[in-house]
Amino acid sequence: GALVYQYPRRTICKSGTSMRMECQAVGFQATSVAWYRQSPQKTFELIALSTVNSAIKYEQNFTQEKFPISHPNLSFSSMTVLNAYLEDRGLYLCGARDYSYEQYFGPGTRLTVL
């Protein structure tokens, strides 16, 4: 079956430092990977969508300078939260899909910023 793993599951970083998180797709080809953030008491906000052979598209209020993403092959993606501050805390989800509509989600990386 199709599975998405995320690493780490939980992480703590000091304010002003950076944190890298990873997403691994197993059992299917992740032609597109979407990164989301779920802040406390909020829904999942789309950060960016990375599609093979296309430029990474960032949503309003999210930038490459703050959330650089790498999608080097059809099974792996990573995202870094640069210069993290309190407002960046939350659950970061990776959702990957192949050529179909169905999106498979990982369990998320929970980021705490001190």
Binding site: S32, T43, T51, G95, Y101, E102, Q103, Y104, F105, G106
Partner: protein, 111 residues
């Protein structure tokens, strides 16, 4: 970014009862509408989905209805069970894009 509106925010249902969750959207180019179920500590898992060419899809106790004209969709859970207690998210998307989520409904099914 709030392109999908979902209600209610929370809901309590007795075991055996019917749960109804509703969503609406604005972008008429959306053509695929998944519903996700999320348990604490886990990522959202696809529960049921519907394409805009259909108006109803059923999977066991779960049925989703879609009204293209009104840009509304709903999820019905019949014979609700305590194990159904979770947070449910509706979402909307078009191909070559990513799902946009509603705010979620926290469902509690009491025995």
């Amino acid at each position: 970014q709030q392109q999908v509106r979902q209600s209610p925010q929370s809901l309590t249902v007795w075991e055996g009862g019917t749960t109804v969750l509703t969503c609406s959207y604005e972008d008429s180019t959306f053509n695929y509408f998944p519903w996700y179920q999320q348990f604490p500590g886990e990522g959202p898992a696809l529960l049921i989905s519907i394409l805009s060419v259909s108006d109803k899809k059923e999977d066991g106790r779960f049925t989703t209805f879609f009204n293209k004209r009104e840009k509304k969709l709903s999820l019905h859970i019949i014979d609700s069970q305590p194990g159904d207690s979770a947070t449910y998210f509706c979402a909307a998307m078009r191909n070559n894009n990513a799902p946009r989520f509603g705010a979620g409904t926290k469902l509690s099914v009491k025995p």
